[in-house]
């Protein structure tokens, strides 16, 4: 088991190993319900709640859960929290619950959550598991809001319901539709990978012996 510091456990999920943008997990809700910032936030927070609750319980009871039934037990725990989240959302924000439709119940099968239980919470103490869940959960919310922000501004001309461009703007409806989800995710991945590659190239140049970079540039 690789040793990590608490800071690494927390920050890893937020950006460097962001569940959606880097690990490409949980893409189904990231594509399906991110047509507005409000829906993205609600989905992100519901998933954050399920992930944190499940990680806490899985980590707490990890010594008592036999290996043979661990996955079923994890799913049972996750499903319980999802049902709580589903009923809670319907009671607190009924309009958002209606907009998310079946996707709240589908948090159960979000592989990001199960993967955190299997890969982390089932083997680590409670504190570390919670840090990991917080980090991953926040990373998920950030990724969803990045998707929702672009799609709502372009597809509807608003951000969180407030008009951005005024009444003369003709919304690019495709961004509110399913294809817009794929386009937005594609653009974000393109941008992030381009930056990552540029950073890696620069680091390589820095590591060259003195004079090589200048010689290359001259040639």
């Amino acid at each position: 088991m690789k040793q990590t510091t608490p800071q690494q456990d927390f920050f890893r999920g937020i950006w460097r190993e962001n569940p959606v943008l880097i690990q490409m997990l949980g893409l189904c809700p990231a594509l399906a319900v991110t047509n507005t910032v409000e829906n993205s936030l609600a989905m992100g927070i519901a998933t954050f709640f399920v992930l944190t609750g499940s990680s806490l319980l899985v980590s707490l009871f990890r010594r008592w859960i036999p290996n043979e039934v661990r996955i079923s037990t994890f799913i049972l725990i996750i499903a319980t929290f999802v049902t709580v989240a589903d009923m809670g959302l319907e009671a607190i924000v009924p309009t958002v619950h209606k907009a998310l439709g079946a996707f709240v119940a589908l948090i159960v099968v979000n592989c990001m959550i199960l993967s955190r239980q299997e890969a982390f919470a089932a083997k680590r103490p409670v504190g570390r598991s919670l840090l990991d869940a917080f980090g991953t959960g926040i990373g998920f919310v950030i990724a969803l809001v990045m998707m929702g922000g672009v799609r709502e501004v372009l597809g509807n001309g608003t951000f969180l319901g407030f008009s951005v461009f005024g009444s003369r703007f003709e919304p690019w409806v495709i961004f509110a539709l399913p294809p817009g989800g794929f386009l937005t995710l594609g653009f974000w991945l393109l941008i992030l990978n381009w930056f990552e590659k540029r950073r890696a190239d620069r680091a390589k140049v820095r590591d060259w012996p003195d004079g090589v970079a200048e010689a290359r540039a001259a040639a």
Binding site: P66, T73, L76, V84, A91, P94, A176, L177
Partner: protein, 224 residues
Amino acid sequence: MTGGGLPVIERKEVPAWRLVATLGTAGGLAGFLLVFVFGWTQPIIQAYKAEQLRLAVQEVLKAPDRYDTLYVFDGALTSTLPEGQDPTTVEQIYLGYRDTGDEIGFAMAADRSGFQDKIRIIFGYDRAEASVLGMKVLESKETPGLGDKIEKDSSWVAQFDGAVVPLVGVKPRQATGDVHEIDFITGATISSKTIITIINETLERMGPMIDAYAATRVAAEGTR
């Protein structure tokens, strides 16, 4: 195994009862927690739904002074259900009155498959004029920007106010201004047609019951 084979990992066998006990306990605790959450959220959810329905009835009956709930039971409308019949399992329609006591019309909810998913609407019906009083979409998942105009385009929704049944859908360019006509939404013909069909079909089914109910009411008032 001889001569440097892979080490045999001895795994301790977990007895079956422990597996069952683990899952059983987890399931039991989960159920216990859900009972509490259900008990807390259900009244709030029910109250919200009732309020939404009340607002919808207010809207499609053009702000009635009060309204009665009628039940569709045994092929007829009745204001009281027999003992032991759960009112939530019976189809309900609503009869609105003005403050003078005159009836405004009946509000009824119905659904049908639209372009993407089920469209559920509620509409008001004026029996005397055979016309629609108003229409409101309760549930739909139609295409944003096209089909969702059935909810969001207020000028389209306003066409239903006063339209005489049976409704006929027409392309906007072929509209003649007839009282039966409803313009289709360009690019969302199926969604618009679905709503027209829901209203026509529901009235075909409910119309006789509504007439029969009104007749018995008139008879009852006559004998009073």
